[in-house]
């Protein structure tokens, strides 16, 4: 464990020396400063990541020495009804949840920004950050109670509105469970995305807005023709973060549904978690992880490419 990183650093120094420039402390300093972080990442991120990919071609159960089985885990995976269901669930969840969060957070950020008064803007920012600091488990547990069948908020509300026949076991039946999970956190304003949008809007030079006004832009035109293009960096960043988060969705399964009822809220991460830590199928589980990695990489690649295509706000 110890020798490998050291030798890597050695080779980096040689890169500097190869051009036969005298190695001075100034030239070495950046490498030295990077050592601690990269040592930690090497031991706890890079090596596990590479070994996960290697293990996905084996029948490893966590104990015995793994045997190479080729693509068997992957072919089995795509025959697995649960896995296919989990992919379609996660696609539906990620697309709708990301869209809802981005639209609502952006809408609220524009509302706050339109106040044109720093003190008020900060006040509203603070109000919408409060729910972010409640532990996520608690948020999910409280929302689980909102959807509770017996005495939950939603059903009790429906009864008191005289709509008692609309009562549902929201998390307990296949056709509403996934939708209920998507709506956790409604109305989606309180999010990291909101904070990123509002701070990006505030950082735009005010001349842009004056120019838009002089050109006769109304508010809606300004938002779609000026703000959205100028915020595309922030928008793409939050979309990527939300999508990566969606692909890895596991907390609501662990806290609320366990992936059920049936396969209705199953997610790849939940399947991975169960295969590994309940059934000891470590090889199979890492194959699920590799598929998730590929989906995330493909998505990030295309969204970053899209972001820099014909970009008006950056010099490449």
């Amino acid at each position: 464990m110890e020798t490998q990183p050291r030798s890597m650093i050695g080779s980096r120094q040689n890169v500097g020396g190869a051009k036969s420039v005298p190695i001075t402390w100034v030239r070495l300093a950046p490498y030295v400063f990077l050592i601690p972080a990269f040592l930690l990442l090497l031991a706890l991120r890079y090596i596990p990541a590479v070994s996960a990919i290697l293990y996905s071609f084996t029948d490893w159960n966590g104990m015995r020495a793994p045997n190479y089985v080729g693509l068997q885990n992957y072919t089995e995976l795509f025959k697995d009804r649960l896995f296919i269901a989990s992919l379609s669930n996660i696609a539906f969840y990620t697309v709708s949840h990301t869209a809802l969060v981005v639209v609502m957070a952006f809408f609220a950020a524009e509302l706050v920004f339109s106040l044109r008064n720093r003190m008020l803007q900060t006040l509203w920012q603070i109000i919408f950050v409060i729910p972010l600091v409640v532990p996520q488990t608690v948020t999910f547990l409280v929302w689980g109670f909102v959807f509770n069948t017996q005495s939950g908020l939603l059903n009790t509300l429906l009864v008191s509105l005289g709509l008692g026949n609309l009562q549902q076991p929201w998390l307990g039946q296949s056709n509403t469970a996934l939708l209920s999970i998507i709506f956790i956190g409604f109305p989606f304003v309180s999010s990291f995305a909101f904070l990123v949008y509002i701070s990006s809007l505030q950082s735009l030079p005010s001349e842009i807005f004056d120019a838009a006004k002089i050109d006769g832009c109304n508010t809606l035109q300004r938002i779609f023709l000026v703000d959205v293009p100028l915020l595309r960096g922030a928008l793409v960043l939050t979309v990527i973060l939300l999508v990566l988060e969606g692909i890895q969705l596991l907390t609501p399964q662990l806290v609320l549904t366990g992936g059920g009822p049936g396969t209705s809220t199953e997610s790849p991460a939940n399947l991975l978690y169960r295969s590994a830590f309940k059934y000891g199928e470590f090889g199979y589980a890492t194959a699920i992880g590799v598929i998730m990695l590929l989906i995330g990489l493909v998505f990030s690649y295309f969204s970053i490419r899209l972001r820099y295509q014909g970009a008006v706000d950056v010099n490449i």
Binding site: P30, L34, L40, I47, W124, P131, Q136, S199, M292, G296
Partner: protein, 275 residues
């Protein structure tokens, strides 16, 4: 001018919509607070409104349990926080302020980790920690948490340092400051607002993560608060007052931290984050 006057003078329609959104957002937590002071009879009789007498004993009943979890969380989170701040400062500063061979490659190699699903590395990490006999240990939680967090934190710190004026660093260098001098006397003090931001993000993460503790910590009494609340729930499933009192208690520490740091947090994000 008082806040009240300002609210009246600026954008009344926008603020009405915002108020509506805020009420929807906060209502579940208000409900949690309200219910935490009821007994079961009050809960079923007066579902929507606060009910007197308040049952503060709900809190004293669940306090030992929840406080234990909170204590564990602090024990794991505080060292993680220190490590992440120190490493992200150092790394972000280096990427922003130095031009060196391999800079872009190393930075990309680091960013690539952001795309890496945490659950993918979970399994080899678990096996590795088991072989080192680190499962359930203090460093077995702190170091993995740190490794999960420093990537995004470095990204934030790099963006932050790049926005600082170059001249400050150049002037110090001309005055004969060495590399460590620059780091310690210039970078560290200037980094404080940026560090505030990543500190909060980091605390939010360590306070929320349930997956790694559920996998690696076997002793229920050693769980940090987010994971601990799951086993707490199964004990109080039918007693709504104590259940919600526990949830509220679990939320309090972060709300206190947040109350003191929110302005710094928002200031650290100033200028926005973007790709």
């Amino acid at each position: 001018m008082s806040i009240y006057r300002q609210i009246q003078r600026h954008g009344f329609p926008q603020q009405s919509v915002l108020l509506f959104l805020a009420l929807l957002t906060l209502y579940p937590f208000y409900f949690m607070l309200m219910t935490s002071l009821k007994d079961n009879e009050q809960f079923f009789k007066q579902f929507w409104s606060p009910a007197a007498p308040f049952h503060f004993e709900n809190y004293t009943r669940v306090f030992p349990r929840v406080a234990g979890f909170i204590g564990n969380s602090i024990l794991y989170s505080a060292p993680t926080l220190l490590l992440v701040c120190a490493l992200a400062l150092l790394t972000g500063y280096t990427f922003a302020r130095y031009r060196f061979k391999g800079r872009e490659i190393l930075f990309l190699a680091m960013l690539a980790l952001m795309m890496l699903p945490g659950v993918l590395t979970l399994i080899p990490l678990f096996a590795q920690m088991r072989d080192w006999a680190w499962l359930g240990s203090f460093q077995g939680v702190v170091l993995p948490w740190t490794s999960f967090q420093i990537v995004f934190a470095t990204f934030v710190m790099r963006v932050y340092f790049e926005k600082l004026p170059k001249e400050v660093f150049e002037a110090a260098r001309l005055d004969g400051a060495g590399e460590f001098g620059l780091l310690w006397r210039i970078a560290v003090p200037l980094a404080l607002p940026g560090l505030g931001t990543i500190a909060i993000l980091n605390v939010l993460f360590t306070w929320n993560d349930i997956i790694w503790p559920l996998v690696s910590v076997f002793d229920r009494d050693a769980l940090p608060v987010a994971a601990g609340m799951l086993s707490f729930r199964s004990d109080y499933r039918t007693e709504f007052g104590p259940l919600f009192a526990g949830y509220t208690l679990a939320s309090i520490p972060l709300i206190i931290v947040f109350a003191f740091t929110i302005r710094r947090f928002i200031r650290g994000l100033e200028g926005g984050l973007s790709l």
